[in-house]
C-alpha cells in the first residue's frame, strides 16, 4: 500500500497542494505552525474519514471557503485506487474511484494508517478514555462490523440513560421496556467485548516481542484487557443477566452502571502497572511498542501494510528506539515523517528518504542533497 500522489484543496491553512511520492520514506521538514502536521492529518483523514485532531469536520475547511477536499492516488498491489474526501456545509462525501460511498463503513479500511504522535504517551499515562479511544479507532480500522456495534451501543446507552432519568417521574416502572433496551445493549456490548478481547490478545503477541527488543531484553510487557463485565465467559446470556442483576442500582443512580463505556486496558512491565508506577522511559517504550505492533497487526489482518505517519516523534526517540522503528518499517512500509530538524534522525533513514521542505503551507522537494554526495 503506497500513496503515489496527494492533492489538497482548502484544507485547514492549505489552499492548494499537489505532491507525488516516489520513495518509501518521505520526510517533511519545517518550522512549527507551517503545516507539517496538517499534511499528515490529511492522510489520516483519507484513511479513517475523521481527523485525529478534531471531532468537527467543518474545522478542516479553510477559512472563508465553501469546501475542503483531499484526494490521493494509491497503489495497492498492482492496482491503482483513487480516493476523494470532500467536506462542505452539507457534510462529508467520500469517493472511491469517483464512485460515491454512502456509508462510511464501505469506505473505511480501503487503506490503513498508524499514526505516531506525541499524544501517544496518553494511551499509557492518561485517563481510561484515551485507551478506549485507542481500542475503538484501531479495531474500527479493520472491522466495520465493530463500528456498527459501537454506534448502536452508544445510541442505546443514551436512550437507556435518558429512560433511567425519566423513571423518577413515573409511578410504575415499565420493565418490559427496560428489558428491551437492556437486551439490545447486552447484544451489542457482548460483540464489542469479544472483539476487544481478540484484539488485545493478538496485539499482546506482537507488542511483547517489540518491547523486549526495545528494552534490550530487560523488560517484559503484558497487556490486560479490563472488561467492565468481569465475566469468565462473555456471551449474551451472561451479559444480559449481569445487567438485569444491576437494575436496582441503575435505577437508584439513574445511569447505566455497567458496560463497555467503563472498560480499560492495563499495561504491565515486569509485573508492575506502568501507567501508575512506571518510569517516564518505561511509559515511552510501552507506547512505542504498542504503536509499532499495530503495523504487524494490520498487515496480518488486512494482508497489506499500513501507511505509517510519524508526527514530530522521530527525533525524540533515542538510538535504540529509532533502530527498532526502522526495523519495523524496513523497506516495506511507506512512511511520512515530520520534523523541525533532521539532525536528530538517523542517517540510514535520511539516505533512503525524499526530503520535502514546508514553509508557510507551501511545499517543495529538496533535490540533489542525497544524490549529490
Amino acid at each position: 500500500m503506497e500513496i503515489k500522489q496527494l492533492k489538497i484543496t482548502n484544507f485547514r491553512n492549505y489552499e492548494q497542494l499537489d505532491i507525488s511520492f516516489d520513495k518509501k520514506v518521505n520526510i517533511f521538514i519545517g518550522h512549527n505552525a507551517h503545516g507539517k502536521t496538517t499534511l499528515l492529518e490529511s492522510i489520516y483523514l483519507l484513511a479513517i474519514s475523521k481527523s485525529h485532531k478534531t471531532y468537527k469536520d467543518k474545522a478542516l475547511i479553510r477559512f472563508k471557503e465553501a469546501y475542503s477536499k483531499v484526494s490521493a492516488e494509491l497503489k495497492k498491489d498492482d492496482t491503482f485506487l483513487k480516493l476523494d474526501i470532500i467536506i462542505s456545509n452539507q457534510g462529508k462525501k467520500v469517493l472511491i474511484n469517483d464512485v460515491e460511498k454512502r456509508k462510511i463503513s464501505e469506505y473505511i479500511g480501503v487503506f490503513n494508517v498508524v499514526m505516531f504522535a506525541p499524544e501517544d504517551l496518553e494511551i499509557v499515562k492518561g485517563e481510561p478514555t484515551n485507551r478506549r479511544r485507542f481500542l475503538d479507532i484501531e479495531i474500527g480500522q479493520i472491522s466495520s462490523i465493530y463500528i456498527y456495534h459501537l454506534t448502536q451501543y452508544n445510541k442505546l446507552l443514551k436512550q437507556r440513560n435518558e429512560y433511567l432519568k425519566q423513571l423518577q417521574q413515573v409511578k410504575k416502572i415499565d420493565y418490559a421496556y427496560l428489558d428491551t433496551l437492556t437486551e439490545q445493549l447486552a447484544q451489542h456490548g457482548t460483540e464489542i467485548t469479544k472483539k476487544r478481547i481478540d484484539f488485545i490478545k493478538t496485539l499482546t503477541i506482537y507488542a511483547k516481542k517489540l518491547h523486549q527488543h526495545i528494552s534490550n531484553f530487560e523488560e517484559d510487557l503484558m497487556i490486560q484487557y479490563l472488561s467492565n463485565y468481569r465475566l469468565k465467559h462473555v456471551n449474551f446470556e451472561n451479559v444480559f443477566r449481569l445487567y438485569k442483576d444491576h437494575y436496582q442500582k441503575d435505577i437508584e443512580k439513574r445511569v447505566t452502571q455497567l458496560g463497555i463505556q467503563r472498560d480499560d486496558i492495563r499495561f504491565m512491565v515486569n509485573g508492575i502497572d506502568v501507567s501508575d508506577f512506571g518510569s517516564q522511559g518505561q511509559q515511552r517504550t510501552t507506547a512505542l511498542a504498542i504503536k509499532l505492533s499495530l503495523i504487524d497487526f494490520i498487515k496480518e489482518e488486512t494482508k497489506h501494510y499500513p501507511i505509517v505517519l510519524l508526527d514530530d516523534v522521530l527525533s525524540e526517540l533515542d538510538d535504540i528506539r529509532q533502530t527498532q522503528l526502522l526495523d519495523c518499517i524496513k523497506d516495506k512500509v511507506q512512511t511520512f515523517v515530520t520534523t523541525t530538524n533532521i539532525s536528530g534522525i538517523k542517517s540510514d533513514l535520511i539516505e533512503k528518504a525524499d526530503l520535502f521542505c514546508i514553509k508557510k503551507f507551501h511545499i517543495y522537494k529538496k533535490e540533489g542533497e542525497q544524490d549529490g554526495e
Binding site: Q159, Y163, T180
Partner: protein
C-alpha cells in the same frame, strides 16, 4: 414597532408548522395580508378547517381517514387475522403500494425514544393491545423501521405479547432485491447472513 394583532397571530400560527422559522412565518403572513385575493384566503381557511374537522385518525388502527372507521378497517375482503404494525401513515401507504398485503394495519404514530421524550405510553401501543384482546388476530407483523428506535419498539411490543398465543413476526432485513453481494456493505451482509433461510 408592533405589528397589528391579526398579523402577529398569523405569524404565530405559521411558526407552529414544521420547517417554518420566524422569518418565513413573517413573510408568509405578510404575503397573505398584502398579496392574496380574499377569495383565495377564504378557500385556504376553509380547507384548513376541513382537514381538521373532516379528517380524523381511525379509532381502530390509527390511520388518517375521512371515514370512521377507515377504508382499510371497514374492508371486509381483507384478512382480519393479520395486523401489520407500522410507525406512521407514510409507511402504511408504502405497504399498500405493494398491493400484495391483504391484512390490516396498526399505525403507532411514532417510535419509543426517551431522548426525544417519547415513552412507551406516548405512542399508539395501548390501542393495539386492546384490539388484540377483542379481535381474532393470529399474527402481528412488526414492520417498524430498522433504526435503533424502530428495533427497540418492535422488541418491546413483542415482549408485551409474549404471554399471548398470537404469532409475532418481524419483517426481514438484508440484501435489496436485484442487488449483488459485492455491492452490499458488511453490516447489511451480516444481517442477511443472520436472517438466512433454509432451502432444503
Amino acid at each position: 414597532m408592533h405589528y397589528p394583532e391579526a398579523i402577529t397571530r398569523l405569524i404565530e400560527s405559521y411558526s407552529k408548522l414544521p420547517g417554518i422559522g420566524p422569518k418565513t412565518a413573517e413573510r408568509l403572513a405578510f404575503y397573505v395580508a398584502n398579496k392574496m385575493k380574499e377569495e383565495d384566503v377564504l378557500n385556504f381557511a376553509k380547507s384548513l378547517v376541513a382537514v381538521k374537522r373532516e379528517l380524523m385518525t381511525c379509532p381502530i388502527c390509527g390511520n388518517i381517514t375521512d371515514k370512521n372507521p377507515c377504508n382499510i378497517c371497514r374492508d371486509q375482503s381483507r384478512d382480519r387475522s393479520v395486523i401489520a404494525v407500522v410507525e406512521d401513515n407514510k409507511d402504511l401507504i408504502a405497504m399498500e403500494k405493494m398491493k400484495e398485503y391483504r391484512g390490516l394495519y396498526h399505525v403507532l404514530n411514532g417510535v419509543i425514544s426517551p431522548i426525544n421524550g417519547i415513552g412507551p405510553q406516548d405512542i399508539n401501543i395501548k390501542d393495539l393491545l386492546e384490539r388484540l384482546k377483542d379481535e381474532e388476530v393470529s399474527e402481528v407483523i412488526l414492520a417498524t423501521n430498522t433504526t435503533i428506535e424502530g428495533e427497540s419498539t418492535a422488541m418491546y411490543i413483542a415482549k408485551l405479547l409474549d404471554k399471548t398465543d398470537i404469532k409475532v413476526t418481524r419483517i426481514a432485513r438484508g440484501l435489496p432485491v436485484g442487488g449483488g453481494l459485492e455491492y452490499a456493505d458488511e453490516v447489511t451482509l451480516l444481517k442477511a447472513l443472520e436472517g438466512r433461510r433454509e432451502l432444503k
